[in-house]
Every structure is written in structure tokens, then in C-alpha cells.
């Protein structure tokens, strides 16, 4: 499965840019369009495109499947954990004002950041896991058949 040289060089350039852009979308989501969902999807696409061009073995070396499966659960835990922390501090579940009691607005900022991070991690994990699951199946046709 040797693809075009141009394709491989371009993808190498693109992947790092895409991951950077995903992080920007993730953490700048308060100020501009974007947030955990979009960032997660873009991040996942970066890995998927790498997998498509260079083959599954190379992506598995970068991001092994067991790690992806942990990520899927970790995101939901981060989200729920934020709520539990709020509860332990004596506020309602997912009331971020508790994080900095003297200045609730800042608490909201932190809370949104944490929750969005949780969403982003889960979405990234799920999308990559689904791609791994599909790509690990033996294909029915070879590349030339397209």
C-alpha cells in the first residue's frame, strides 16, 4: 500500500497543523466558535488521515488502541468529576461557581474549560476507536478496485 509521495509529504505537514488547530479550537471555544465537540472531531481526523495514508500499524505505534479506549472513559469521568467536585464544595452538581467562591465568574470559566476538555477527550477517543474498529477489519477489495 504505497501511496503518492506528494500525498505523504502533505499529510505529514497537515497532521501537526490540524492538531494545533484542534487545540486552538478547544481552548479558544469561549471566545470564538468552537468547543469540545469540534476540537475532538478535528483531533480525531488528524489521526485518521495519518492512519489512512501511512497504514494502521504506524498510528497504533503513536496511539495504541488500549490508550484510546482509556481516553473514551476518561473524558466522561472528567465531565462527571467536575460536577462531583462542585457537589463536594457544597454547591449544586455542575454549578461551577464553587471553584472560586469569591469570584463566581472565574469559576464559570474554569468549569467550562474543564467540561469542554472532558467532551473533547471523549469525542476524540470515540471517533478514533471507531476508526480503528473499522480499519482493523480485513478489507474486501484492494486499492486498485476503486
Amino acid at each position: 500500500m504505497r501511496h503518492h509521495l506528494i500525498l505523504r509529504v502533505i499529510v505529514k505537514l497537515l497532521v501537526s497543523t490540524m492538531i494545533l488547530y484542534a487545540l486552538y479550537v478547544q481552548f479558544h471555544g469561549d471566545y470564538s466558535p468552537g468547543g469540545g465537540f469540534q476540537a475532538g472531531v478535528i483531533m480525531a481526523v488528524a489521526f485518521i488521515i495519518y492512519g489512512i495514508v501511512f497504514g494502521l500499524r504506524k498510528v497504533h505505534a503513536v496511539l495504541p488502541p488500549w490508550l484510546v479506549h482509556k481516553l473514551v472513559a476518561l473524558g466522561v469521568l472528567v465531565y462527571g468529576g467536575t460536577g462531583v467536585v462542585n457537589m463536594l464544595q457544597g454547591y449544586e452538581f455542575l454549578n461551577y461557581g464553587s471553584l472560586t467562591p469569591h469570584h463566581p465568574e472565574h469559576g464559570q470559566h474554569w468549569g467550562i474549560l474543564a467540561v469542554e476538555a472532558g467532551v473533547g477527550i471523549t469525542v476524540t477517543g470515540v471517533m478514533i476507536a471507531i476508526y480503528y474498529a473499522f480499519a482493523a477489519r480485513p478489507p474486501r477489495m484492494s486499492d486498485e478496485e476503486w
Binding site: Y31, I130, A133
Partner: protein, 140 residues
């Protein structure tokens, strides 16, 4: 009257789109195509919601960074946006689940056409009835 037609044209377009999606789901036997049809259907619903949130002359619901909000600026309703944002991601999750089911069906039945699957199922049921029927005194 003219105003009424222009004001409702968008809803009608979404209805047409939605029905195209429904037609693909109902009339086409290929399972992958059914899922594409479901996607079209669901996108039409998204558009319906988003178009409800639009206010004429409004702008995207993002304040200036310094939070000095001009009270004269009209912002579109952000609530439908939130609902649909989450719905899109749930949509892709369910779509992938459906595609996974299609892959499994293909492995079991070696086809992804609905009619072929029905045929195979019927054959299996008939064969089972015959084998069990012999044990039960010849009645299937």
C-alpha cells in the same frame, strides 16, 4: 400573501428535503444508502431548528471579547444552536453504530441488500421448521 410565501418557503424546502431522506430510507434496499438517507433526514430537521432561531437582521450570538455588549445589536437565538450542536455529534455516533451493524450483517449474510437478507432469513426459517418438524411428527 407574497410575504407569507417568502416567509414560509424555507420550511417547505426543509419538508421536501426531509421527504427525500424518508424516500431513500423506505424505498431503497441497500443498507448503506438507507443510512445516508437517515443522515439527510436528520440534517433537514437540524435546518428546521436553526431557521427557527434566526432573527431578521440579527448576527451570530458571540459578544465582543471585552464584553461591552451594545444593546442595539440583535443576536440570533442561541438555544437552537446548542441543541443542534449536540444533536449533530449524537447523530454521527448513531450513524457509526448503524454502519457497524451493516458491517456485521455483511459478515453474517454476505449481502447488504434488504431483499436478499429477507430471502436468506426465510430460507433459514423454512429449513429450521423442516428439521424441527420431523422431530415433532412431521408437522412444520
Amino acid at each position: 400573501m407574497w410575504e407569507f410565501i417568502v416567509g414560509h418557503l424555507n420550511y417547505w424546502l426543509f419538508c421536501v428535503l426531509m421527504m427525500t431522506g424518508l424516500y431513500i430510507v423506505v424505498a431503497r434496499g441497500n443498507l448503506v444508502k438507507k443510512i445516508v438517507g437517515l443522515n439527510i433526514f436528520q440534517t433537514a430537521v437540524f435546518m428546521l431548528y436553526i431557521s427557527m432561531g434566526k432573527i431578521a437582521g440579527g448576527t451570530a450570538p458571540i459578544f465582543p471579547t471585552d464584553m461591552n455588549v451594545d444593546p442595539n445589536v440583535v443576536y440570533s437565538n442561541p438555544l437552537p444552536h446548542v441543541l443542534i450542536l449536540t444533536a449533530i455529534v449524537v447523530g454521527i455516533a448513531t450513524t457509526s453504530l448503524g454502519l457497524a451493524l451493516v458491517v456485521r450483517i455483511r459478515e453474517e449474510y454476505d449481502t447488504i441488500e434488504e431483499e436478499d437478507i429477507l430471502h436468506i432469513e426465510r430460507d433459514i426459517v423454512t429449513a429450521e421448521n423442516q428439521s424441527h418438524g420431523g422431530a415433532m411428527g412431521g408437522r412444520a
